[in-house]
Amino acid sequence: MLQAIDLTKRYEDQQLALDALNLEIKEGEIFFLLGANGAGKTTTINLFLNFIEPTGGKALINGIDVTREPLESKKYVSYVSENVMLYGNFTARQNLDFFAKLGGKPNLTTEDYYMRMREVGLQEEAFEKKLKTFSKGMRQKVGLTIAIIKDAPNILLDEPTAGLDPKAAAELLQILVNLKRQGKSIFMCTHDIFRAKNIADRVGIMKEGRLVMVRTREEFLEDDLEKIYMNYMQEMVIEKS
């Protein structure tokens, strides 16, 4: 479970990146956070992962304050970034092994790795290949495998479908659905409104650091989500102009 309570971040240049965010993502829920570039989506993830310190409020992972107990809180969260690079000179196995051990899974066998790789649609032949020979889609899948191996109850994804071809993106979303079925809380930042409509349980729209709208699946299927989102975007353009 992920919780943001009045979570605020103001940078040193006084730019307000996140303004009193209040949000809760329950077990087995997929939450999509939409918003333009600079709206505060990645800042939210950075705060949950304690990459940056909040200037107000708090972020909780399974009830643990990430600022007070960063190491403890990170046991319960996995992360997939926008552009998974990993270690290009290492094979997929070496990358999986390193991050599995960092994530607190030191005793996994090759079979365990194979199983997780199959879950995300990676072939076993890829296991001993160097990451630098992988396509972006394959690297994203390795990144997702790392997140799955950690077996944390919460998964944070920062625009993981960016730059992926439609097939790879669809496969990735299917994996997320499978993870949801295992009871994982999934928090994903994206611009991809169409995929949000496909699998999200709830959708939030962020604008200039503020969460301006949250809709459940029933609500956003009833309303026209694209229209609502575009309206917010247009308002922002008008305000700026």
Partner: protein
């Protein structure tokens, strides 16, 4: 966790082209520099052998007045590692009574081609400093920025692992990557030396080499920390490598040259011509005083058909002179010998002042160069190899002490006032002028006045020569009873403790920089 990250870092590093480049650089440069150093050492040893043979010849004295021993310092084989100043200063000192040894003479390389100049001193330590500092920077410039740029830093920090563990792990991994290179360099160097066979190290010298290896580890760590510090202060690897290269050039090339130039500018040393002018005026005073004393002495009735060989610093050999003449010379020596020493003491403050200025200049240059860690390491290596200024100064001090010892022996044994100071003839065999004329004219004249009136002082009537009076034919006398010079190198422990000061400075800088890097990395923006 630290070991896990270190092992990842190591594995990631050893497959990079820079790792291979490091080994190739070592493989190319180390044997090259060692072969050059060995050849230079051999050439220096050849010069030493020649100088030593010449000195042994020069040290064969025919009387005490001619015994002014020449000391030649044997080059240390450790100069192969760090030549320090040993190739810039001479190794030969002649011990005069009329002057304390100021600087050594001769230059080992003078027998080499003087028209060939070198840009750098290609000893092992200089090459090691260049390679290891460069490698340390190449492996650490992106230690923070590289992982940030590739996003793996975020991936790592998304796990229950602290930033300090990541930092320590990465640093340890980089250290484990570089240390084989350092060991390989030393191994290669020692292998080339052992294969050369001509050079053998003593037990204490092996200890010095061992300590030098340990010091080079400290040096390597320090440069790694400098690279880490730079990487932790910037966001992009491109910026970091540019700063690292600038710092590298400043540390290795600009500071040493600037230090030397600044020292020369800040501390002016008077010219050696001025010094010699002052010395000459004291010398003249001595000559006047000695001359005055000589004039006051009763003139001999006749010198005899003697052999007289005189030279600098009281050098005097006389054979076949009259008793009066010999007695007069003895009295002059008895007075002038100690006077010579007295005037040497008068000259010394001028020389000491000049030396002091040189030393001040050298010290300032040294301390200014300590702004560069590579110079601190080089100085510590020179101290360990006994090729630094202190070691050379120790040699000069020992020659000065030896001179005092020799003088004390002369004074204690009243050698200045003895006939053996200037002749090999038995004083009992000395003759008066009349006796000498009678002997040398083979009885034609009984007295000196008869010789003057009868033969008008014509020497052709003096046909008989006193046996063994030709000073040029005298054999050298045994001087083994006199104090002999024995060079004592500074104790290993003394040298190590002297070097420890430098290494302490390196460690101090390292700890401060590491702490600052740690603080930077704790607050490092991973986005």
């Amino acid at each position: 966790m630290i070991l896990r990250i270190a092992s990842k870092e190591w594995l990631n590093n050893i497959v990079t082209p820079r790792f291979i480049t490091g080994f190739v650089l070592c493989l190319l440069l180390i044997p090259f520099s060692i072969v050059i150093s060995i050849n230079e050492y051999k050439s220096k040893m050849n010069v030493y052998e020649i100088e030593k043979a010449k000195a042994d010849e020069e040290n064969k004295a025919k009387a005490y007045s001619t015994y002014r021993p020449v000391i030649v310092k044997k080059p240390t084989p450790l100069s192969i590692f760090a030549r320090g100043i040993s190739y810039n200063v001479g190794d030969r000192v002649k011990v005069f009574f009329g002057d304390k040894p100021m600087l050594s003479e001769g230059k080992a390389e003078s027998r080499d081609n003087p028209f060939l100049n070198r840009f750098f001193t290609f000893d092992f330590v200089s090459v090691l400093v260049i390679i290891m500092s460069l490698m340390a920077f190449l492996f650490t410039y992106d230690i923070c920025t590289g992982e940030r740029e590739s996003g793996t830093l975020k991936m790592m920090l998304a796990n229950p692992v602290s930033r300090s563990a990541i930092l320590m792990g990465k640093l340890l991994g980089t250290f484990l990557t570089l240390i084989p290179m350092l060991i390989f360099s030393f191994g290669l160097c020692l292998l080339v030396i052992i294969l050369h066979k001509a050079i053998a190290f003593s037990g204490p010298e092996w200890i010095r080499i061992g300590v030098m290896i340990l010091f080079s580890v400290v040096f390597l760590i320090l440069f790694m920390i400098v690279g880490l510090f730079i990487s932790s202060r910037v966001r992009h690897s491109a910026t970091s490598i540019v700063i690292c290269l600038i710092v590298w050039v400043i540390f290795l090339f600009i500071i040493p040259n600037l230090a030397s130039y600044s020292a020369k500018s800040f501390i002016r040393v008077g010219s050696s011509e001025n010094l010699e002018y002052d010395i000459n005026s004291i010398e003249k005073e001595f000559q006047d005083k000695a001359g005055e004393f000589s004039v006051k002495q009763q003139q001999p009735d006749w010198s005899g058909s003697s052999y007289y060989w005189g030279g600098e610093d009281g050098f005097k050999l006389i054979g076949g002179a009259t008793k009066n003449f010999m007695e007069r010379e003895r009295r002059i020596n008895e007075y002038c010998g100690p006077l010579l020493i007295q005037y040497a003491d008068k000259k010394w403050p001028f020389r000491e002042q000049y030396l002091h200025e040189l030393e001040k200049q050298q010290k300032l240059a040294k301390y200014l160069s300590f702004l560069s860690p590579s110079e601190i390491f080089k100085e510590s290596a020179s101290a360990l190899c006994s090729t630094n200024y202190e070691s050379h100064n120790n040699f000069l001090n020992q020659t000065r002490n030896y001179r005092e010892l020799l003088i004390n022996y002369y004074l204690k044994n009243h050698l200045f006032g003895s006939f053996s100071y200037f002749t090999q003839l038995d004083p009992g065999s000395f003759m008066t002028a009349d006796e000498l004329i009678n002997y040398e004219s083979n009885g034609l004249c009984k007295t000196f006045s008869e010789f003057n009136t009868k033969f008008h002082g014509d020497w052709q009537y003096l046909t008989k020569i006193i046996p063994n009076s030709n000073v040029f034919e005298w054999k050298p006398i045994d001087m083994s009873g006199l104090p002999q010079f024995e060079y004592r190198n500074l104790n290993v422990l003394t040298d190590i403790s002297n070097s420890l000061i430098y290494i302490g400075v390196l460690l101090g800088i390292g700890i401060i920089l590491f702490w600052l890097s740690f603080l930077s990395f704790i607050q490092y923006d991973v986005r």
